[in-house]
Structures are given as C-alpha cells and as structure tokens.
Point group: C2
Chain length 337, copies 2
DNA sequence: ATTTGACGACCTCCGCCGGAC
DNA sequence: TGTCCGGCGGAGGTCGTCAAA
C-alpha cells in the first residue's frame, strides 16, 4: 500500500495525491475528495521512513522522565503523549532513576534516535551551558526551571509553576489559619533542585510572618519523593518534637505518606496535626481526610510543553518560559486553629 | 556527508562502500581498510531513515496503553520501558481511551512506525482471528487474555494473572472471615473483559459457599475503572441495601474510592464494612486503613512481557502464555466477623 | 574465480516544466 | 493569463542482478 496504489486507485498521478496529502491549494475540490476517499478506503498510511528521508530529519521527540514513581509525571505524560501524537510527532520515552543524570540520558537518546527535540520531566535546576552542550536539539524543561544555573534564557524553554511561590503560598495558608509550629518534610534543603526551592518558600513564609525557623521541624529524607522515606521522616520529626500543628510536604504522594505516618503515631488529621502538599493528583482527593494541596495544572503543563517545543522546531517562536499558576484545593487535612 | 562522499573520497563506488559497511565478504582487504579509514576521517554516519526505507522494519516496539488513569499500568510501564531499552529496542507508546479500539490503534501504530512487535496493556478478551488480522507483527497481551475469544493460542502471547481465580480468592478471603453479604462494584458484568471475568469469580465464590447471589449487591458503574464512577457506585449500593458487610472492587484505585464513599456515608472501615481489591500498587498501602488487596506482580509482568516478545521476534521461541500468581496483601480493610 | 562497478527498485516530497482548458 | 494536473528527477542507503575486469 503505497502512494502509487492510491494514485492508481483513483486515476490521478502520484504528484496529485502528494499535493492533497500535504494540504496544498492547487488541487480541485472534487479531485481532492476522490483522493481522500481512496486513502480512507485503502487504509493508506504514508511511509514515515520515506517521509523522514526527504525531510532529512526524523519526527521523534524524546521524553526523559526522571523519577518513575512520580504519579504527577504520569498525569503529565498522558497529555504529552496525546499532544505529541496529535501534532504528528513520535514520542520516544526513557525512564531514569531520580539519581541518574538526565542530561546524559537525553544526549544519548538524541544520538540513538536522531531526535528533533527533547522534553525533560524532572531534573536538576543548576546546569551550566557547558553541561547542556551535549544536547544539540531544542528542549523544554517540564515542571522545573534553571533558577540555580547559568543557562542562557534564550537557549532553552521551560514550563513550570513557581515552586518557591507555591510553597510559600502553601505554608502561608497554614499560617493564616493560625498555625505557627509548622514542620516540613523535604528530600533535601540544598539539592539545588525543586526540594531546595520549595524549602526556601517554606522558610521565607515563616520569616515574613515573624516565625522563627526551627531546625528540629525540618526533616530531610535524603532521597527522592518516596513514600516510605517520607513516612520515616515524619516519624523522626515526631521523635524530636511533639508540639507542631502542621506538616508541609513536597508532593501529594508524600503528603499521603505523611497522613499515614501521623495516624499510625496516634495523631488525628486535621484535629491534632494539619497537612498540606503540592500536586493535586486524583488519588489524593480520595484519601481521608481529602488532602489539601496546591494543584499544578498537569494537563496544561503537558500540552503547553509540547506546543512550545513544536513552536521551536517549526521556527514559529524562540525559547519561551511559561510560569503557570497553582491553585489551592481545599481538602479536609487543614484545620483552622 | 553521505555514502557518495565516502565513495568519492577513496575512489571506489557506492556499492563497495555499502558492502564494506555491511560486513560482506566480497571486498578485498586493502580496499576495505581504505573505506573504513575514510569513514573514520569524514565522521560518516549512515542515514537511518534511508536504511529503514529499504529494510522495511525498524527496531521499534509499540506499546498501546488502554486506560490512561490506570495506576497499575503506570507501574508495569516503567519496567516495560526499561526492559525494552535494555534489549536495544525502541519503545513507541500510544495512550488510548478505555472505550477506544486498541486493535485499531495498534494496527495504525504498526504501519505508521513500522513496528517489529506490539504490547497491549489492557483490552478486550473476546477477539476473533479476523479482528486481529490488521495486526501483522507478533504481539503480547499484557495483564489480560483472550478467554472469551477464538484466537489461536499459537498466534499470540499473553502475560496475566488468572483474573477469575484471583477474584474468586479475594471474595473467598472475605467469606472465610465470616462475611456473607458481600457487595461488588464492577464496571460491567458482561463486557467480555476483565470486569466480567472477575465478576464471575465473585459469583462463583458466593455459589461455592452456599451464598445466594443478590442483584442488589452488584453495582455496575458502566465505564472503566474510574474513581468517581466507583464512588457513586458505592453510594447507589448503599441506597439499595444497608446490610452488606463487605465490598469487593476491581482495582486498588477503585478500592480507595470505595473506602472514601463508605466513610463519607458514615460507615467505618473495617468495623462496619470491609473492603478488598485487586492490584497492589504502592499508594494503597498508605491509605487508612491499608487496603487489603490481591497483589499483581507488576514488575515481573512487565519484564516477562518484553522477554516473550523479544523471544518471538528473535525466533528463539513461539507464542507463550504466562499465568502469574497474585498474592494476598493483608491490610487493615478487612475485618473478621 | 574473485572482485568491483553500474543500475534499478524501494518511497515520499518538492520544485520545475509542460500541456490542457 | 491563470488554474489545474501529469510527469520527471533528485534526495538518501541497501541489496539483488548483471556485466566487466
């Protein structure tokens, strides 16, 4: 089933079929309809190798997902996949460990699969231009930015929420409701990444409201956003301090782990301790109490990431940095004191 | 930089360069060396699109995921992705709606991307050979089988648990602990798919233990394994009957939705009503109470699916049907009466 | 007998030219 | 003169075939 068969089937030339398929204007409407009907009937699919061959580039977009257990990435991913398909590109995915180097993985993927562009779902925030030099195709940082790094803003794109401000707002929400002893369970306060940025938001919200930072209330789990790590982290905070009235965590899944740890330790949520998180995935609306959380617009994030990359690939626009707004979802895990 | 440049650079024909590059024997040693040196000097890389064009096959394995919100599939997917990479293949994914036709999607993907093989994550159980005829490459049904269909067992592979028996064991677990009024919230009892099979397991477990089937206790939500659908389903069962002591659901996420619906209706789990499910994803171990569930071996399922497909592609073995065992994870959502 | 060259086919897109109305 | 369509050749790498050295 080639373009020749289609041409033969409806009695036109190969050139005409090609013109129709590529939406060019110089074909009469009735001929156009006849060709499209033949394509439908025969189930013709253009040979993508031949198409790539003439266009001298592939249609592959690489997606490097760092942190396989991250349910928020799963939510983004399905929109990204649909949007990549819709625009006629091919998605090539690679899952890597949260501790692995996503730039290396991306650069390898680029060479192996001759990528047109790359999306990075999760990664470090502190790259220098030299570190990114192995990546030679346009790329978009999805759900994070390069605030700690020295990349030229014109050289890459990003789509994310303002992590600092979102964490700030989450903690501020707790403070407005009367909380002053607020614990935070993070993966690290100095990893030059999302965890550090959100920890800073936490600290600044405390400072702006005249609350002294207490190191005993900051727990660093060390790893990624793991549920067992956070569960143990909450237990350690409890062993150091019993007087905190709220816990801030980095993600919904770790928020759910925190709920569990508190409950297992005999603390009721929200009567004894409140919990707030960031993400807004579906399952956190079905735990008890419903997790109060800052919702990231996952679908918009996925859709816009692909749009921006496509704009760059098709030269409609240069680098863009899209900062999306997170919104508070009121659950039942925060109590007003 | 094409093969022509290489040929010109060392004074041989294009055919000869091609012969050298493809390791064919009929080239003199000194000519071979001259060509290889030229390739090295010029940094020549064959154009993979042109190569694909003639070989008419790529190294791509298609993965059609039916049901984007299914967290169990997310768990399988990361193992599948890693295993496909490890074996040197390329993964091409497509997410489709639970109501869409995965065979059509797979066949389109096969032609678009020139797939070597296909993995189907989720789908119908009742295909006929004619329906599968558009799929011309080897494929593996992952997490389901063709029990309701008429496919030749030699023509395809599958990796799954025994859905009927696993549901049977889940319900039997409830019965052994004294439950006799057991509700089931399923998506459909006659969809010729996983839901029907598990519903049959539920019915048979009741029958084998002398418990009459009560239609009022069987709720069909109609759609897929959605959380809001299940939440509403549980509410409808509650409006019909108040005397059941346990609920069986098809998946962990719907189990979590059931926990929520019961709690919101003033029922305590497990004191008033027990809940049991099938899947064993991470988050269900962190809800309260911990969900009691039949754990599917997600990693093994993903790994073995790719292994079986690779065996078929590389002619090491024919079709295989692997039935894995699910194990009971004791949580806190089932009470002994 | 062994090695090498030349060529067409595979498939699509695109630019260009020419013919038809 | 303008619109529509056909046809040709080139781009790219592989591979079989045939001819030539």
């Amino acid at each position: 089933m080639t373009i020749k068969d289609v041409a033969k089937h409806c009695g036109v030339s190969v050139s005409t079929v090609s013109r129709v398929l590529n939406g060019r204007p110089d074909v009469r409407q009735d001929v156009r309809d006849r060709v499209l009907r033949a394509v439908e009937e025969l189930g013709y699919m253009p040979n993508s190798s031949a198409r790539d061959l003439v266009s001298r580039q592939s249609d592959a977009i690489g997606v490097v997902v760092r942190g396989t257990g991250n349910l928020f990435f799963s939510a983004i991913l399905k929109t990204v996949a649909a949007e990549i398909d819709r625009r006629g590109y091919t998605m090539v995915m690679r899952f890597i460990d949260p501790l692995d180097d996503e730039i290396r993985a991306g650069a390898m993927l680029e060479r192996e699969k001759k990528l047109r562009g790359l999306l990075f779902l999760g990664g470090r925030f502190d790259y220098s231009p030299a570190q990114l030099s192995p990546v030679r195709v346009p790329y978009v940082l999805v759900s994070y930015t390069n605030v700690f790094g020295t990349l030229d803003e014109q050289s890459y794109s990003s789509v994310s929420i303002d992590d600092y401000r979102t964490a700030y707002r989450a903690v501020e929400t707790l403070i407005r409701r009367g909380h002053r002893r607020i614990a935070a369970v993070v993966s690290s306060s100095c990893d030059r990444s999302v965890s550090e940025l959100r920890t800073r938001g936490y600290c600044q919200a405390l400072a702006d409201n005249g609350i002294a930072f207490d190191p005993a209330l900051l727990e660093e789990t060390g790893g990624d956003f793991s549920m067992p790590g956070t569960y143990e982290g909450v237990r350690r905070v409890l062993s150091r301090a019993q007087d905190f009235t709220a816990v801030f965590t980095l993600s919904d899944t770790t928020g759910i782990a925190a709920l569990k740890a508190l409950e297992d330790a005999g603390k009721r949520v929200p009567q004894d301790v409140s919990v707030i998180a960031i993400d807004g995935i579906e399952v956190s609306a079905y735990v008890s109490p419903v997790l109060t959380t800052m919702v990231q617009p996952a679908e918009e994030m996925g859709r816009e990431s692909v749009r921006i990359l496509a704009d760059m690939l098709e030269k409609r626009a240069g680098a863009q940095h899209l900062r999306l707004e997170a919104g508070l979802r009121e659950g039942g895990s925060v109590k007003s004191l």
